[in-house]
Amino acid sequence: MANKNDWVQIHIDVLKPEERATNIPEDTRHVPLEMWVKGHLIDETAEIGDLVKVRTKTGREVEGTLCAVNPSFKHNFGDYIPELDTIDETVKTILFGGETHA
């Protein structure tokens, strides 16, 4: 549930598969061109999945399907990669000798 002026994200199918450019790989041609835009909700209230209007940071009015309220970033540094420690040990041993950084 979102209210007017809430910061939200909307989704738009820009081009249907049959409307896409012809010079693209087969797998891409079978899916639509999709777009996501964020902005402040113009409608009074809306539920996820509703067709709504938002006003973006630059003041553009864009219509699309409400897909997130208060969207945030969740990307991170990923899982532990043991190989990176091995690289550290290898190059330090070559350059400084095995004992220095044991």
Binding site: V14, L15, E19, R20, A21, N23, I24, P25, D27, T28, V31, P32, L33, E34, M35, W36, V37, K38, G39, T56, K57, T58, G59, R60, F73, H75, N76, F77, G78, D79, Y80, I81, E83, L84, T86, I87, D88, T90, V91, K92, I94, L95
Partner: protein
């Protein structure tokens, strides 16, 4: 009501672009294959001094440190032949506003947009350039939209591009995100038309003039610190602007260092493929951009690209993903510098090339880029592993892009592989004939000789 269908918008491309760049490209055309490249570059009205003033006074960028990588140089030397192993230096461009050299490109564009009275700027980029444009627009008080190719059809975003979206938003930009496909250009045109904003393209003369200061500074700093010019400058190559601008700056400083392009080898992966989008661990600096943009620069988002790398390139080498990740980790482990992987493409190449040059030679890697969540060696390897990419130690030459990332079993196995530059030059000549449909006249032959850093005889012998 405007017809916003794909075909209708694409047919309005030229008029939209003319208004959005404020430059009439037609006046540089000869009507045949040739066009007046230097005339186009001069049409910015900004010489190197003027660009330096804009960058230094208005945006406080450039003049980044040139750092000698003594431990990496020593490591390379430890397995180089006797007497070999050049000194490796890196230009720490990550120290710039927004964290990369791209801000040099953005500054001149944003300055121009402001001067011409545009209310805002738009840029189509999934890379560091978006953050650079956002940062400069913030300083100039202009509105800013960044259009990104970000997700596959399952809605999975490339972590490196997600991070750039975050940074652009943090710097006040509106970020528009799309799924995979070249039709991004169609949406870009629609937004230019809707907003009347300036096209802060990577490929205008303003952008490339902005990078010239980078090459110029390298020559100046080497002379000041070392009392001599660099022998080799290695540039990570994708769209070609980094190399073009740097090389032009070196030439303006009367520096004749060998200019080497370096790209991550992503051969076999199609850049517009939905299913392959998240199987690559580099979203820039790779052969998927580097090769096609070198051999036909005018595939960019402006009528004539100012980035024309084959005019300046002496050699083109490739390195594999595993080698660049390894080098990125070495840079942290041995030099205390934690940087983004893509910017270290040229460093991985330089680490190998240094072993082919005598000890007293100077090799300059001309950029670093910022790192953070998503665009980090750990984040990228983790993402690759979760996508089923086989990551292991071995011989990098066995790496298959999209299937494996092979970390060198030993750092001596990092190896810059020579691309066939004569083949690339020939491709450019053939593409120029094919794309224009013209039969080359004498002026075209001379133009193509400049385009390929060759001579009229070479061009005539390699016509399609």
């Amino acid at each position: 009501m405007l017809d916003n269908s794909y075909a209708a918008v694409m047919s309005r491309k030229n008029e939209i672009m003319k208004r959005a760049v404020g430059m009439d490209y037609d006046k540089f055309e000869s009507g045949s294959i040739a066009f007046d490249y230097e005339g186009m570059m001069a049409a910015t009205g900004y010489d190197l001094d003027a660009v330096r003033k804009i960058q230094t006074n208005e945006f406080q960028i450039g003049n980044t440190p040139l750092i000698e990588l003594k431990n990496l140089s020593a490591l390379a030397r430890s397995f180089a032949p006797q007497g070999m192993g050049a000194r490796i230096f890196v230009k720490d461009e990550a120290a710039n506003l927004s964290g990369s050299f791209k801000v040099r490109r953005a500054a001149t564009s944003i300055h121009q947009a402001k001067r011409m009275g545009y209310p805002g700027v738009i840029s189509a980029t999934s890379g560091n350039y978006g953050a650079a444009v956002a940062a400069c627009a913030a300083k100039a008080g202009l509105k800013c939209i960044v259009v990104q190719e970000c997700f596959d059809s399952k809605g999975v975003g490339q972590p490196e591009i997600i991070e750039k979206a975050r940074k652009c938003e943090a710097l006040g930009a509106e970020v528009v995100q799309l799924t995979v496909g070249p039709e991004l250009f169609y949406m870009f045109l629609r937004m230019l038309e809707e907003t009347g904003y300036f096209n802060a393209s990577l490929y205008t003369p303003f952008g490339i003039a902005g990078v010239e200061t980078l090459g110029f500074e390298i020559a100046q700093q080497c002379r000041l610190m070392l009392g001599r010019d660099p022998d080799m400058v290695v540039c990570t190559n994708a769209g070609g602007g980094n190399l073009t601008g740097t090389a032009r700056g070196l030439l303006k400083a009367n520096c004749s260092a060998e200019v080497v392009a370096a790209s991550v080898n992503l051969s076999g992966l199609h850049m517009a493929s939905d299913t392959q989008f998240n199987l690559k661990s580099f979203t820039t600096g790779h052969t998927g951009f580097g090769m096609p943009f070198s051999t036909w620069p005018d595939r960019s988002d402006v009528p004539r690209s100012a980035a024309r790398p084959l005019r300046y390139m002496d050699r083109y080498v490739t390195v594999n993903q595993g080698e660049v990740f390894y080098t990125t980790e070495m840079l942290a482990a041995l030099e205390g510098m934690e940087k983004g992987p893509a910017g270290n493409t040229s460093l991985a190449a330089a680490f190998s090339l240094a072993q082919t040059l005598p000890k007293d030679k100077i090799i300059v890697v001309q950029e670093t880029e910022y790192t953070g969540a998503g665009k980090h060696v750990n984040a990228q390897l983790s993402f690759a592993r979760s996508n089923g990419i086989d990551i292991h130690f071995g011989d990098p030459k066995d790496e298959v892009p999209g299937k494996s990332i092979i970390l060198p079993a030993h750092p001596s196995m990092i190896h810059a592989r020579e691309a066939d530059i004569e083949h690339l030059r020939t491709s450019l000549i053939h593409n120029a004939q094919k794309m224009t449909g013209k039969t080359p006249n004498e002026a075209d032959i001379a133009f193509l000789a400049e385009e390929t850093k060759t001579n009229p005889t070479f061009v005539k012998e390699h016509l399609a």
